[in-house]
């Protein structure tokens, strides 16, 4: 049980997919103009990650190593298609904003890399927690980026007005997104430096 919690925590901060592993950066900029969008895509990623991890963990003995990657892609694509069909029913308006990115979850490096690195070697339960942890970490990244951008760019948080001053429109434009992620990454580096005393190696993107 302890290990499972560890796995959850791991995906949340120490190996946060966006800020530490620097994987799947595209949606981190694209959909984070508001907390709501970030949350929605995050949920979709949690869904796909968890289900794909579980699927792979269950069927890992059946999947021939030589067709491992195509099989993973197929599995991910299936779950992506599923969530892509479910979301517009659940939340049609919000879905419009993230529609393209829900489909693009297929090519998010984070998912396939967790399948390859974790779920293909571990049984069902740890895979579930790993998938959940990564998904939550991803969602956390999207939400925090979305929160900063929405707060400064539109003066709102989750759609509610909170800011008195004139918003900085740039924050909801691409430029602002790139800036915010750059600053958050630097902050993570700084925190790691403060905590561990080691100069962090910046993650190479994949």
């Amino acid at each position: 049980m302890n290990r499972n919690l560890q796995l959850l925590w791991n995906g949340f901060l120490p190996e946060n997919p966006i800020f530490r592993l620097a994987l799947s950066l595209c949606p981190a900029v694209a959909v984070t103009t508001s907390v709501k969008n970030g949350l929605l895509l995050g949920i979709a990623v949690v869904f796909v990650q968890v289900f794909s991890s579980c699927t792979v963990a269950i069927f890992r003995s059946f999947i021939h190593p030589r067709i491992r990657i195509p099989a993973y892609v197929l599995i991910i694509a299936t779950w992506v298609s599923v969530i892509d069909m479910i979301l517009p029913v659940v939340s049609p308006e919000a879905y419009k904003q993230v529609a393209l990115f829900v489909k693009l979850i297929v090519v998010f490096a984070i998912i396939i890399s967790r399948l390859e690195l974790f779920a293909s070697k571990e049984p069902f339960v740890p895979s579930f927690y790993d998938g959940l942890g990564m998904g939550i970490g991803f969602t956390f990244g999207l939400v925090i980026t979305g929160a900063i951008r929405e707060l400064f760019g539109a003066g709102k948080l989750y759609g509610f007005d909170v800011l008195g001053f004139e918003p900085l429109l740039i924050m909801i434009l691409p430029t602002g997104g790139f800036f915010v992620i750059g600053f958050i990454m630097a902050t993570f580096n700084y925190l790691e430096f403060k905590i561990t005393g080691k100069i962090p190696k910046s993650g190479g993107a994949h």
């Binding site: 595209c26 195509p70 298609s81 393209l100 090519v107 434009l173 430029t175 750059g182 630097a186 190479g204």
Partner: protein, 317 residues
Amino acid sequence: MRIHRFWMAAAAAFVLLLFVLGPALASTPGTGSFKKDKEIEISFGIPVDESWATNPANYSVYEKPDPDIKMAVVSVSLDPRKVTATLRFKDTLNKAAEYIVEAKDIVSEGKVIGSRSFMVKKSEVQILFSLLIGAALISNYVFTKYLGLCIFFGVSQKKETAIGMGMTFTVVMVLSAIMCWALNAFVLVPYHLGFLKVIVFIGIVAIFVQAVDTMLRKVNPYLFKRLGVYLVLITTNCIILAVPLDNALKDHGSLESLIFALGAGVGFAIALFLMACVRERLEVCRVPRMYQGLPIAFIVTGLFALAFLGFSGLAIF
């Protein structure tokens, strides 16, 4: 050297293709074209009588879905050869829409030779060109749509790799987009299988990349050695999937899909190249320690995006 020859051959093939398709793209008889905001030009092909041609009452013009509501023609002018008439309207025309110009009882050399109607819309070449510029610069996938970032940050450290990746990506992009288009147009849409788009497109891309990889390994080991590494990475590039999806969403035809994919590929290559140039320079910059690596790369990309805002709203035609 051999690698250059390869790209030259590819470019030559593309130009040849354009030549073959050129006649098909050329304006067909019975069409007119937009001139300025309030003008349409039509060509009769034969000299017509000036007194007839310059009378606005002889024309009826409407936007395609509104045949019952005519546009007010203010004046008509005829060119010195008396072949081409320019119609001037009261209101600004919407160049994205299609207009029908009907010329009633055309009089040529004193004889009435019947009525003709002209279809006026942006020419195919203009549309394609706009599509190309749009995908490459105005809505650059990296700087304005934030796609392909993983590869963008991963491969932009050295100029040479950036160029290799850019070219390889463009070629793979165009070819796989064409295949996706074909499958979508001939299979998915007719059989109402739209919900399989994601799975089918990613399948095509993966299989195609694998096939190119295998063939290149056998056919041209030299090229494979140079470009093989990028091939593997291409499958994880969002753009390769986003372009076919965009094509399907916007109902692009075959040529439009091709040009759109080409634009997206070129746009990605441009972004990669520019970023690589800047990052090579960043290598020797005194970037604060916490910002070294990805954080500064993000900030630089943000500044690129800021500069690329200059292209927003660009409409050549």
